[in-house]
């Protein structure tokens, strides 16, 4: 009877999975374009170049991000701020800023390298293009507008979620393994766009609840 018992055991497994999928919560599939999943807090999505709340660009054209990039996909050229009407509060500003999204591995080392928190990552990942040139993002696409909104590559796409560009993964430094645990729950890292008035990352206990 051994084989027959195994046979019914197998039937029970598939039957149970079917019942779970139909009436229970066994189905984990999300109908993606119709419904969106809640992304993890530290999701690494498309980059955003930030501004200060007064409209100044944060980027000072130091090229540290380009140096940190393991994929060599960032190209930066700095330029002295024009006297009288500075673009950034420092001496120089990022005159050219390009990221080749075909090469980018979304490791966020550029975000860590940036001394002024000028480049951060959003949670947008729909970036497919029909053209290799479109995959090279310039300041036109990356830089946030003075009002704090971020340009979307396909603003007319019915699936475009503009809010995704405005949620930053700005919690990286506070609770990174190498970081200090005391930063947990403290507003220590400036999230991407706008006035930088973001809630601190919840502590692990709060996440577990």
């Amino acid at each position: 009877m051994g084989a027959l018992g195994e046979f019914f055991k197998g039937l029970r497994v598939t039957g149970k999975v079917m019942v779970d999928t139909v009436v229970g919560d066994g189905l984990v599939t999300t109908q993606y374009p119709k419904e969106f999943r809640q992304k993890p807090q530290r999701f690494h999505g498309r980059h955003v170049l930030n501004r200060y709340p007064d409209g100044m660009e944060k980027c000072i054209g130091c090229e540290l991000c380009a140096g940190a990039c393991p994929a060599r996909c960032i190209y930066v050229r700095g330029l002295d701020n024009p006297p009288g009407q500075p673009v950034s509060p420092g001496e120089r500003f990022g005159f050219v800023y390009e990221i080749n999204m075909l090469r980018c591995i979304f490791c966020a080392l550029c975000v860590e390298a940036c001394p002024t928190e000028a480049i951060t990552m959003s949670s947008l990942f729909e970036m497919s293009t029909t053209n290799r040139d479109d995959a090279i993002y310039t300041k036109n696409e990356l830089l946030m507008r003075p009002d704090g909104s971020v340009p979307h590559m396909f603003p007319d796409d019915p699936l475009a979620q503009h809010s995704e560009l405005e949620t930053a993964d700005g919690w990286l430094r506070a609770t990174a393994p190498s970081g200090v645990a005391a930063y947990e729950g403290i507003k220590s890292w400036q999230g991407t766009p706008g006035s930088a008035n973001w809630d601190p990352e919840p502590t692990q206990d709060e996440i577990d609840q």
Binding site: F7, G10, L11, V13, T14, G15, V17, M18, D20, T21, V22, G26, L27, V28, T29, Q31
Partner: protein, 370 residues
């Protein structure tokens, strides 16, 4: 036979054709959907509501595809084989009674393609003919994988047809104990399963009146053997060696494309449906079921038997899908062992056993003749 009778015959055949085509479209969808649920997936859901039109979309796609003819094929047989597959698949459903006969304007209409008095033999003949399509397709394709599939199909059909036929024999013999004499007509076998066991065992009527008089209960072993055999006969998993995708790239239909391939699919799924319907007719009482004549409108009471047959057929179909979702494909020698060492001896023993029991019930003990 006057004109109206002829029209009724034509209408019956058309209805059988439509039932088979319609259920095939539905069955492919049902199978994919149920299989998906058993594998924790969603299944087709893009074409139409709940993906109901998925099969129609697939069919349309295949319709517009080129029917490629590889260079090495035996052209005539290669083209003929899909037709050989589809004709028995449609013919086999002709003998299945799919509803209670009714009278309309003085003409009796039986809901069956044709009430052959050799219906059971016809089923065996047609299911054997269907194997020719597979074998000839495998051979004429001029390619090694289809050939292997075709060779396997022959061996599998021979092994399992025997068990299937023996299981049918015990059913036919058992059903000859009720009614007047034996019958090979499927309609006759179905009619003899009407009522409950209270008719047979009047002193047990308290319990037995709730048990329908299906052949399933007295012939349970035959049912199991028959069900395993039809699983193999329709090339369903776990006996789908004939079209094993992983080893044979699809087996006998590897070289087929477009509408020729679609015809194989159609034949396969209508075979599955017919075989489930035949199994339901032989063992599960066919269209017998409560109809509540008198308390329900006549039309509903007339349609209910068809509904019961569909319920039983789809219950069996569901079990087939369940088996497919659960069991891995058998190895070739395991298939042969199961066929020749288990099913055929089992069916023979059961046949002798039920013969003896029927004989004793009918004629008494041999040493104590009445």
């Amino acid at each position: 036979m006057d004109g109206i009778d002829l029209l009724i015959v034509i209408a019956r055949v058309v209805v059988v054709f439509v039932i088979l085509l319609g259920t095939t479209v539905l069955n492919v969808w049902i199978e994919r959907k149920v299989l998906a649920k058993m594998q924790n997936r969603v299944g087709p859901n893009r074409a139409g509501p709940w993906g109901l039109l998925q099969t129609v979309a697939d069919g349309l796609k295949l319709f517009f595809k080129e029917s490629i003819t590889p260079r090495k094929v035996e052209y005539g047989i290669f083209v003929l084989a899909p037709f050989l597959a589809i004709i028995p698949a449609f013919l086999i459903f002709l003998v299945v009674p799919f509803g209670r006969p009714f009278t309309i304007g003085g003409h009796e209409v039986i809901l069956q393609g044709a009430d052959l008095n050799i219906g059971v033999l016809f089923i065996l003949a047609m299911s054997s003919l269907a194997v020719y399509a597979v074998v000839l397709a495998g051979w004429s394709s001029g390619s090694k994988y289809p050939l292997l599939g075709g060779v396997r199909a022959t061996a599998q059909a021979i092994s399992y047809e025997a068990a299937m036929g023996l299981a049918m024999v015990s059913v036919v013999m058992f059903s000859s104990t009720s009614g007047d004499g034996g019958t090979l007509s499927l309609a006759g076998i179905v009619e003899r399963q009407a009522g409950t066991f209270a008719d047979v065992f009047p002193n047990l009527s308290a319990i037995a009146q709730f048990i329908p008089r299906w052949n399933l209960i007295p012939q349970f072993v035959a049912f199991v053997i028959f069900f395993v055999a039809i699983t193999a006969e329709t090339n369903r998993s776990p006996f789908d060696l004939v079209e094993a995708e992983q080893e044979l790239v699809g087996g006998f239909h590897t070289e087929y494309g477009g509408m020729r391939f679609a015809m194989y699919q159609l034949a396969e799924y209508s075979n599955i449906f017919s075989m489930c319907a035949i199994c339901a007719s032989l063992f599960l009482g066919g269209w017998n079921g409560p109809t509540w004549d008198g308390s329900l409108p006549a039309f509903i009471s007339g349609v209910l038997p068809t509904f019961w047959l569909l319920v039983k057929t789809y219950a069996l179909f569901f079990v087939l899908i369940w088996l497919r979702a659960t069991l891995p494909r058998m190895r070739y020698d395991q298939l042969m062992q199961l066929g020749w060492k288990r099913l055929i001896p089992g069916a023979l023993v059961w046949l002798i056993l039920s013969t003896v029991v029927i004989g004793i019930r009918q004629f008494g003990l041999p040493w104590n003749p009445q």
